[in-house]
Symmetry: C2
Subunit: 434 residues, 2 copies
């Protein structure tokens, strides 16, 4: 280890904003999606540090130096990811060292650790000279330990308190190092500056089976802001998520306002709200089944197993999930679900009659209290004027009776199937809520 223990130079500006520079040809050329920048931005925002600009450049040392120099000149606080590995295109450290007018030197601590890792893995011979680059750091830099990989991070700072923190590009290593080492250091700086008590926090309310325009109407007078917090409508195949965000206020105030806003939204929207944050509708349904002590079985045509997959994706789903039948072709519907062939002939496989028969059939052949069925036209072929692509029927049969409904679906084959499975889960949720 080398350098200081995290103290800022006297007279350094208070920390309230940073820029992010993500480095790598893979990112710049679009071969890799940049998830690191989003993770960093969220983590910093949660802690009250504003991200004011993000930049991506390639592996060229000149480009890296130019991009980082511009960020330093604008904001004085820069986090980079990428360009710290053993390969020859890793020009980050030397490019940034040059900005600060520092030479590169071998760090004995890193070099010893690399040699130990090499031996520990049972690899033959000595560490190749090319890997020695990983142990080179700018003069006066502080090493940020990496418990999750071989490339350490680096903190470099000038006499005016302007700094660059270099993190590795592998997301797992970057996230670990951010949490372990860099964030505590940044928070210390922010506290000292007296500025960073102001956070950015958000909460998300999840709705399904209600259109964005219907939500707009329900929320007409709070569409711009709920208790002063801006509201974002985020439509997706699972439904429309509503996100409220509190910015530039102390954490306690943000949390209190968010709580009020979420209660307001839940109260106005009512039934279509199935959860918050990362809640999955399958988990909500499983909890409701478990509360009743009921088992479920599925009968799937156009979704081909997707509903079963979603239910069984939840750990512990075997408490409530028996299994089911993938009745993709009609002969399976007849043989395994007792759907009458004349019914198929008269109404077609995509019909209320058949979806009811499927739910009844899978419930009858198992000991499940709840039978769920899906049949639809997922496309791209198979549509007719009466039953266009996107026509989907779902049915839930419980000891209290059967309920069938058509699901609103739009989009391509994948999206139609996802919306169909989501619609079936939502019908279970609603029947269990009665």
């Amino acid at each position: 280890m080398s350098g200081d223990a995290g103290a800022a130079p006297a007279g350094a500006p208070p920390l309230d904003a940073v820029e992010i520079v993500t480095i790598g040809d893979e990112l710049l050329l679009g071969f890799t999606i940049d998830t690191n920048a989003a993770h960093l931005a969220r983590a910093l925002g949660e802690a009250g540090i504003r991200v004011v600009r993000r930049t991506t450049c390639g592996d060229d040392a000149g480009e890296i130096a130019m991009a980082v120099r511009e960020s330093i000149d604008r904001t004085g606080a820069v986090i980079t990811t990428g360009g710290l590995g053993p390969t020859s295109d890793d020009n980050t450290k030397s490019g940034i060292a040059a900005i600060f007018g520092r030479a590169m030197r071998l760090d004995e601590g890193i070099w010893e650790r690399l040699q130990e890792m090499w031996k520990g893995r049972g690899w033959p011979g000595q560490v190749p000279e090319s890997n020695k680059l990983q142990a080179m750091i700018p003069d006066g830099a502080t090493v940020l330990a990496n418990r999750h990989g071989s490339a350490p991070g680096i903190w470099l700072e000038d006499e005016r308190g302007r700094w660059v923190a270099m993190l590795p590009g592998v997301p797992r290593e970057m996230k670990g190092m951010l949490a372990d080492t860099l964030m505590p250091r940044i928070l210390e700086r922010a506290k000292r500056g007296g500025g960073a008590a102001l956070v950015i926090r958000s909460r998300t309310v999840r709705t399904t089976a209600i259109s964005e325009s219907a939500l707009h109407d329900l929320l007409a007078d709070v569409r711009q802001s709920v208790h002063g917090l801006p509201l974002a409508f985020l439509p997706g195949w699972e439904g429309v998520d509503l996100r409220v965000t509190a910015r530039g206020m102390p954490a306690a105030e943000a949390d209190a306002l968010l709580e009020r806003a979420v209660l307001e939204l839940r109260g106005r929207i009512g039934d279509p709200v199935y959860g918050e944050g990362a809640d999955d509708l399958a988990s909500v349904v499983i909890d409701a089944l478990r509360a009743r002590g009921w088992m479920v079985a599925v009968a799937e045509s156009c979704t081909g197993g997707m509903l079963g997959m979603r239910i069984t994706a939840v750990p512990g789903s075997s408490d409530v999930m028996l299994g089911g039948v993938i009745a993709y072709r009609n002969d399976v519907k007849v043989r395994d679900l007792n759907v009458p062939q004349p019914m198929l002939d008269a109404h077609g496989a995509v019909s209320e009659e058949v979806v009811r028969a499927m739910a009844n059939g899978v419930r009858a052949r198992t000991s499940a209290q709840v039978g769920v069925a899906i049949t639809g036209v997922a496309g791209p072929g198979g549509g007719t004027p009466e039953k266009p692509v996107g026509t989907v029927w779902v049915c839930v049969e419980t000891p209290a009776g059967a309920h069938a409904t058509r699901v609103r679906t739009v989009g391509d084959r994948d999206e139609i199937r996802r919306r169909a499975a989501q619609g079936a889960l939502n019908l279970v949720r609603r029947q269990l809520a009665r």
Copy 2:
């Protein structure tokens, strides 16, 4: 419509490099992952246009103007996404107009189209005044038509031939407008400049059921480059993809070198290669089944329907897919697949004996020539010292006999299930290739 039809001013510099600026608080704060930038970069690279820098800024008009101005000063050719919608935070157009010293004016064509769309959707009353912002464009700008949404794109250029193209932020709209309108215009500029014959192209060979380290050994002497092209190893749950990239050369030369490199990789790796590019293993298996005129049925325990979902995700899969049984709980395995209860008691549900009985059972109860079964411990609970989390058996039974194997799986519940389904599909592929 207004402005020129795409001709560059006399004396404009040749086009060979662009910058991308993606705009929006959602992106900057990390709430949304930036997929637009990657899509743009790949499309431009394929066409031989280098992306030299990517920048993300928030919705603040001053920030937008500063970021775009810097990009124009560096590179003279800038594509922006985002900030063109009807909401009040859409400051892109006016911010960029200010850089070029242009006033904003109402475009009658866009305004009429907005009014038509409003009526066409049967919405009541007149288009709100707030939507009029969408029809405002910088003086002298060219409108880029949007067939996929309401916000048109804008092309703005100065007398020196420096330009900014503004695209909407909705990925579907952005992609459509890029392909329809912007890319032809950019290619025209590049051709005129005489510079853009040098492309960046890549091809990807997909492998499964072979480890990254085994591939490293097989490819030891071409690991750094195959026929002069750099080789990237991209491991994922489907297997390891190998990408070769040709850069900075004419298209014909790139294509020829890539073809040689792909043949070299296919020859060295052999059986584990199941496809190229975006090929999905389920499609490969469906084609092989169709070629034989065989039908398939599935029996799934730990994957709970994921294998059926993957097969039926492919349009036209009903040619070869009957359906199957989701045998999540053991009583379903016994009742619907004729797995003997004593076998379950003696060997456990996750065993070679049971997976063979499942494949046999689903084949016997259907008219399918091919039965595929999966049973495993997906975790996080349920592991034992003998059968730890990640233990997965798959079996394929065909008229030629049955073949069972253990699948290498690592990772969390989701990843284990994905690898299990992929392993089962691969076993079908291998059995059909005999």
